[in-house]
Amino acid sequence: MKTAQSIAREVQSGESSASAELDNSLSAIRARDEELNVFLYVDEEGARATAASIDERVARGEDVGPLAGVPIAIKDNMCQTGIPTTCSSKILEGWRPPYNATVIDRLIAAGAVPVGKTNLDEFAMGSSTENSAFGPTRNPLDPSRVPGGSSGGSAAAVAANMTPLALGSDTGGSIRQPAALCGLIGMKPSYGLVSRYGLIAFASSLDQIGPFSKNVMDAAILLEAIAGHDPLDSTSLPEPSPSLVAHVNDGVAGKRIALVRELVEGADEDVVISVNRAVEALKDAGATIVELSIPEFRLGLSAYYLIAPAEASSNLARYDGVRYGLRVDAEDVAAMNEATRTAGFGAEVKRRIMLGTYALSAGYFDAYYGQALKVRTRMIDAFKRAYQQADLLIGATTPSVAFAFGTKTSDPMSMYLSDVFTIPTNLAGEAAVSVPFGTGEAGLPVGVQLLGPGRSEAQLFAAARVLEIAEDRS
């Protein structure tokens, strides 16, 4: 399949057209969507209209933008005007947002063609896309296994060549973990780099939108197009979008990169081997490698499973049956709220709402939520100390390659552990990218994770590109 970069070049030059590229994308979706359950909604009509208008603009000689005519899949927790947006939950049944998320506006301004909305774990709570009210998504590389989650649909769309690009959201690893399991580039940008306006909140202080792609350059093009200050998001960083594409080939010569013991601890042997090979590749490209232990990373999971559910318990309160989505009638308002939420939310969402409500309750706040906030502060300090010794950190993205359906659903704790290496970055609001490097069990891809301080996306892409080149040569 063509890269996003080459599609944009060909559409802009007239060699190809947005409509033709869209046809390719729609055929690929038709070919495998029934088997894989990637898309919750394909906006064929809207996408055709968008593609046609791009083609007209090209014909008029206009510069359409860096993503001219590139089909893109959108995780179904981002609002797009008039398009059903469900968060894979029954509770949002029938709801069509009256507004676009900022990222949708920016994609359209960059010439991209949103083709539809992808499956996810309900409200982005999960690591396998098995928690969707509309059935699980299958991993295109091995349909007996999960694609990871929560952005499993977006990852599968790119892995199955349905679209060259997809947007996901990452609260505790929901982009990087499925990227690793599907053999893709997936980046969690610095908190505030990409506007959250129109991203349906799971945990507001952790959520961040980011790109999926098959190669580093495409991810850089996509992130550059959607990043930058947004006056509609108070937590948005004040700077305009950073220059990323120009730095993809900067390499790592002279950089110090630290292998973090806690980011491989407990990982499968195949995974550890891949990480070590990646370290060697970076060394060969001129980086200095150091080893570090950051014991605070071990506290990340427990802090995350208090902070994220606490925020979620509040963010998800609005699904009360009063204004939109599902309503289950009952004798009075309180009973209607309860009946609606009981019928509308799945088990994992309920579990986290209860966990979060408990953590914030009078008498428990200090011991749980308050304590978790202190751990979060320690995590931020630990990263700061680490970045005094190294420019970037490296480790595994996930402890294992893609796992089979049902293997972790009965034990939430084992599922939560899939995110043990990705969570620290979210707690600290920093950036990290997962890069496919080597294979593990059953020939499935392994994800290597590069972590950097806030606004280090250009450096992370440059390091990821070094691994990509090394992998192509091997």
Binding site: C79, S234, Y324, S361
Partner: protein, 475 residues
């Protein structure tokens, strides 16, 4: 009202005021009372999935103005979420301030010389408004409930006093003085009947120097009269209860204006756990010194200062005039009174006309200029208009504006004051020779007879002094 025996009441007030910003607290929707339901709404104030709040800086300006006027300390503050389910609250949490409010501490001095401490004055958003139809007419048991989200997200400041108030009259004076400050700062229009200022009263009773008793909170008092009545009623209820051997239960109570009594809304045990936590969608609010200084410099004089200045212009004022000054200050009418005094009007007249005629027509004040008000009073003072005529001219000015001389002429008032008054008096003298003779011989009571006759003919539009002048000129 005096409480029985040596009982003393202890009252603290929580005043919610809607801020007079053009747009809502976290979105660009119009902040406007009285629009068609659900017309001033957007994804943010409807709390639609994915929407995010962005703080309105003008709301911060006004909150700081209130804080400065109340001598509060302005500090770096944060927003919190107050979580509870209610259908008119679209996110099912309210964005408010919790442990770090924008304004802490402070005080308010009342006209009687007493001082009430201020604990805090914090920013928060208003909710929508529910209307329950059919059945019980309340949220439980209505046939249908309608929600108007126009008010959702309107900026509020909640001003919490210390438990320093000791009588319902003092509570009323505090609310009234605070209202004056809110109007003076431009923070609020102070319209209690439209809900732009709402009061909750915490009331307890005790014996002198005893520790505070258990308090009850009376919710949503929406007039100064209700405030005073509700507090008195609640204090008496508590005293009666204690004297009958009972104990006061901490609870929230509802004031029924028609029945003139309070009743239980919910008891403390049912109080919700609001699970406050920092609002992650907003950043800290940390107004720098320059911002604070800008607000401080833009503040006009507060009511206490303006009241003192206006009183100083009255010469040995009677109580009625001092009361009139209160009305003039409360309604912000002293620019009219001062302009008239500056133009040479009698200060007592200026204050009286402002406190009565202007106060009555306050809704139409926009039609009246200070110049027109001054000119009318001077015409009255010169005898060109009777008191009744002057009031009529002011009424006309308020109703439709214009020039007082032209209005007086159009109404025929000027004719009366010159030629036609003389002609009328001359005619009356001719028609009543006996009375005229008695008057000429020194029976001053007869002046009243002639004034009465003139008034009858002119339908009350003549100036009594001018009639006497005409009579004396012919004596």
């Amino acid at each position: 009202m005096r409480l029985p025996g040596d009982w003393e009441m202890v009252v603290g007030l929580e005043v919610h005021t809607e801020l007079k910003t053009a747009t809502k607290m976290f979105c660009g929707c119009a902040n406007h009372f009285g629009s068609e339901p659900n017309t001033n709404i957007c994804p943010v104030c409807l709390g639609l999935p994915g929407s995010l709040p962005v703080l309105n800086e003008h709301a911060v300006d006004l909150a700081m103005a209130i804080g400065i006027a109340l001598h509060s300390r302005i500090a770096s503050s944060t927003f919190h979420r107050k979580n509870y389910f209610y259908p008119d609250m679209p996110k099912d949490f309210q964005i408010s301030q919790y442990d770090l409010p924008i304004n802490s501490g402070g005080y308010l001095d009342l006209p009687d010389g007493s001082r009430v401490s201020i604990e805090r004055a914090h920013l928060e958003e208003d909710t929508g408004k529910s209307t329950h139809l059919g059945g019980t007419g309340r949220i439980h048991g209505a046939d249908r409930s309608l929600v108007d989200y126009n008010r959702s997200g309107v900026p509020l400041v909640e001003i919490v006093s210390g438990p320093d108030i000791r009588s319902s009259a003092q509570a009323r004076a505090y609310a009234s003085e605070l209202r004056g400050i809110l109007i003076a700062t431009g923070a609020s229009d102070g319209r209690m009947e439209e809900g732009s200022m709402r009061i909750d009263a915490n009331v307890s009773v005790r014996k002198p120097n005893a520790p505070f008793g258990t308090r009850c909170e009376i919710k949503n008092l929406n007039s100064l009269r209700s405030l005073q009545r509700a507090i008195d009623h609640e204090a008496l209820r508590q005293i009666e209860l204690i004297e009958d051997g009972g104990t006061v239960r901490q609870e929230t109570r509802h004031w029924d204006e028609n029945l003139g009594e309070t009743s239980t809304m919910r008891i403390k045990e049912e109080a919700e756990d609001y699970r406050y936590f920092r609002e992650p969608d907003l950043v800290d609010l940390d107004p720098d010194q320059r911002w604070q200084d800008r607000i401080r410099a833009s503040l006009p004089a507060m009511p206490a200062e303006r009241r003192a200045k206006l009183k100083a212009r009255l010469v040995s004022p009677a109580q009625a005039q001092l009361d009139a000054v209160e009305v003039v200050i409360d309604l912000g009418l002293e620019s009219f009174a001062n302009a008239a005094i500056d133009a040479g009007a009698d200060p007592a007249l200026a204050v009286a006309r402002a406190a009565n005629e202007l106060a009555a027509g306050i809704e139409d004040l926009k039609n009246l200029s200070a110049e027109a008000f001054s000119a009318t009073l001077l015409m009255e003072q010169r005898g060109e208009l009777s008191a009744t005529q002057a009031k009529t001219v002011l009424g006309e000015l308020l109703a439709s504006g214009g020039d007082p001389k032209a209005i007086a002429a159009a109404m025929g008032f000027e004719q009366l004051s010159s030629d036609s008054l003389g002609a009328t008096v001359a005619r009356l003298i001719e028609e009543n020779p006996d009375e005229w003779t008695r008057y000429r011989e020194g029976d001053e009571k007869l002046a009243q007879f002639f004034i009465g006759q003139v008034m009858k003919i002119t339908k009350g539009q003549a100036n009594g002094k001018a009639v006497i002048a005409e009579l004396q000129a012919r004596r």
